[in-house]
Amino acid sequence: MAKIGIVTDSTADMPADFYESNEIKVVPLYVRFGEEEIYRDWEDIGPGEFYARMRTATELPKTSQPSVEDFTRAYEEFEGCDGVISLHLSGKLSGTIQSAQIAAENAPVPVYVIDGEQASAATGLILQGLVKARDEGQGIDRVKQIAERLAKETKILFCVESLKYLEMGGRIGRAKYLAASLLKIKPILTLVDGEVAPFKTVKSRTKALDEIAGFSKSYADGRPVHVCYAHADNSEIIPTLRDTLRGTGVELASEVEAEIGCVIGAYIGPGAFALVLRAEISN
């Protein structure tokens, strides 16, 4: 029977049992403290330890993409399959996809590398839709097409406590000018074409949640929506975020919670939170 493999990287920030039960192969990125300490994201180090160290570290942690070899080994596990969909975080934020593409060329199975142009749980929600398409028995071309459409449809909004991590980590993108603000601001950010971009800038969390609720309603536009509530060392926000979404009247097709992992966390900083929305796409 035909089989389609799904490979992603550790920044999709989904819980381990999601990957296990859906047979998704996860290739970890690396997290570095200084030159010596190197950990595999989610495998050797988890968010709890990571954020605790980040809050006290004098030097910011660094991250690096998986090696070509890491991907080669992952793809080899799917030898004999019809093909592999390899979905990854935005190429504008990381070189991960570069390693994947090189490994894909010499893989013993056809590999379709897809730039989800997203990050963290937004990649996770694309995977969720991808699994569904695969499990329905769609062919590889169709699954690939669906993955690309899901990637376009998915939207992430995130709020950071401070822009300094994005700025120092070189990922602030089109939100760069906000970092100049002398006023204390609470920027709501999003990803546009795979790059960090400002969505709205407000002065209080209440306003931020209002904006998020407003956007969710206009995004849904009557359609049922899959959502993910995600946080970086800020679990207290989850109930508030959930209540905000439930209060909008948007029909929620599914709700999941996620913890933002070390790699994305290294750039948005502790205290950040995110809402991911994905409407069901019509066939």
């Binding site: 993409q65 090696s67 070899e69 570069q98 390693s99 089109r174 002398l182």
Partner: protein, 525 residues
């Protein structure tokens, strides 16, 4: 002099390349602005080459074994984008030489060519102005030597020069580098590596020159001292490199002549390419002649860069007085200011002047006072530019409007978002009554919000707190306070303490505004 590179020499060369990289690691890190400005290109290249060296050091035997070890080591150790691309260059290079037993000049040339090909193939959308461009330029430069009986030293010498020249051009090819005033980090890393290899070949100590790479201005100006970059190959018999150098050196700078009695490769920046060609024809047959007008090229590149960066951006003119107030507006994206405010309303012509002198063709005006709105609204009829007014009635509304401002959005979108943002804040001001009104004595403090008197009294801080108490509603979370020029530090400290005590739910954002008339300007949401 080294005619060929024997396999046993290769570990030493790779170690020298690694040493050279380590010497420049921090500098390369600092140059890193593309594709992701995370300042780790140098580190990544060092880590990648360390892995190559570790594998090569372990391998013994022939070139094929060393080639396999280098390729394996580079793949295993590749870190970061630069490391991955580098690993592909190494793979390509060793693919080309693996079966040769030793690396000859021809082998080296083919190695550079294959490295270029494999690296370009590996990258889905090759971007020029990166290390890809540098390896490509190196490969092209050495290709013209392929026919002569050149040594590996000649080839490397050309490679060093070509890499150096190429990396200096990277800012012209990739605007993000030019903006940052740097050359490409990965490309510079390649230059350093080739120089390291050269040093090992000559048996010299590895040193790769001073910090010339960070400041690009100098090298560009230097290059442009002469107009034409002239390159050619001379073929003949008994060609004398030194005497030909003497022949042309007075004609320009950046001169390089290398090769053998049978073939010379010549490169020079000059204003007289004709004289260079004339000198060359006198000694041999010319081929591969290239004369490029560098001034024209530079002008064309500058034009392209300017065209792409001068977007149809939106500028903002704000009416505001007070050093601190202006600094805050500026930090949020305001370009220019018009003096004015309560009791000193600017004229339409003053606002018009600021709009006309703004850099953008599309300008948003923040009047920040209800008595200035009308004057501001006349400007659109008088200017050739596209001017729109957000009718902000106070400084606090103006600041709030700026939170809705986005550089990249259109004038229309900005006007809509900013008007909405302006209305999302409650504003208040505290000032002194200049005459007796509604039973308030002249000289008393008055707290106003939305045009209504909310509090008054003899004490500045008492009046301000009473105003705050009246403004606060359920759900408010933030209070922004701009401190006027007549308020003392003690008064600010007292107000901050009282606020924290009575309204812990409000996150206070207190700034010195230095504005006249208003002791405090308040924004609350």
């Amino acid at each position: 002099m080294a005619e060929v590179i024997k396999p046993e020499k290769i570990p030493e060369i790779i170690r020298a390349m690694l040493t050279a990289l380590k010497l420049k690691q921090d500098e390369i890190d600092r140059l890193n602005v593309y594709p992701v400005p995370d300042g780790d290109t140098g580190t990544n290249m060092v880590l990648s080459m360390e892995s190559v060296f570790a594998e090569v050091a372990k391998a013994d035997g022939d070139l094929a074994a060393i080639a396999e070890a280098a390729t394996f080591g580079s793949l295993m150790g590749a870190r970061g984008n630069s490391g991955v691309i580098l690993s592909q260059m190494i793979r390509g290079f060793f693919d080309a030489v693996a079966d040769r037993g030793e690396i000859s000049a021809t082998g080296l040339i083919e190695g550079f060519q294959r490295a270029t090909k494999v690296a370009y193939q590996a990258v889905k959308k090759p971007v020029e102005g990166t290390m890809l461009t540098v390896i490509k330029d190196v490969a092209e430069a050495v290709s013209s030597l392929a026919e002569g009986s050149v040594t590996v030293k000649d080839v490397l010498e050309i490679a060093v020069h070509a890499a150096d020249e190429s990396v200096k051009r990277t800012p012209e090819l990739l605007p993000v580098l030019k903006e940052a005033g740097v050359v490409d980090a990965g490309g510079y890393g390649l230059v350093v590596m080739v120089k390291g290899a050269m040093a090992a070949l000559l048996g010299a100590e590895v040193s790769v020159g001073g910090g010339e790479s960070v400041s690009i201005t100098r090298s560009i100006e230097q290059a442009l001292a002469y107009t034409y970059c002239t390159e050619l190959v001379i073929k003949g018999t008994g060609l004398d490199k030194e005497s030909f150098e003497r022949e042309i050196e007075h004609l320009g700078n950046s001169m390089l002549v290398v090769g053998t009695p049978e073939i010379l490769k010549v490169h020079i920046h000059t204003d007289s390419p004709g004289l260079v060609l004339q000198a060359a024809t006198a000694v041999g047959a010319l081929s591969d002649v290239q004369v490029n007008n560098m001034v024209e090229q530079a002008a064309e590149r500058t034009r392209l860069i300017n065209a792409s960066s001068s977007s149809d951006g939106v500028g903002v003119v704000a009416v505001a007085t007070g050093k601190g107030v202006r600094e805050i507006f500026q930090s949020l994206g305001v370009d220019s200011f018009v003096n004015g405010g309560q009791s000193m309303n600017p004229s339409t012509s003053e606002i018009l002047e600021a709009v006309d002198s703004a850099a953008s063709q599309k300008v948003i005006i923040l009047p920040n006072n209800k008595n200035v709105i009308l004057a501001a609204q006349q400007v659109d009829n008088l200017t050739k530019k596209d001017a729109s007014v957000i009718p902000t009635k106070s400084i606090a509304e103006g600041l709030s409007a700026m939170l809705g401002f986005h550089f990249e959005k259109s004038l229309e979108e900005n006007v809509k978002d900013m008007a909405e943002a302006a209305l999302s804040v409650k504003t208040g001001e505290v000032s002194v009554a200049v005459r007796e009104v509604n039973g308030i004595k002249k000289g008393d403090f008055v707290g106003m919000s939305a045009g209504d008197i909310m509090a008054n009294g003899h004490s500045l801080i008492g009046t301000t707190m009473a105003l705050v108490d009246k403004m606060v509603e359920n759900g408010d979370q933030s209070i922004t306070i701009l401190v006027g020029d007549e308020v003392s530090d003690e008064q600010v400290a007292e107000l901050s303490l009282l606020l924290a005590d009575r309204h812990p739910e409000l996150e206070a954002d207190v700034h010195q505004g230095d504005q006249p008339i208003y002791h405090f300007i308040i924004g609350m949401e």
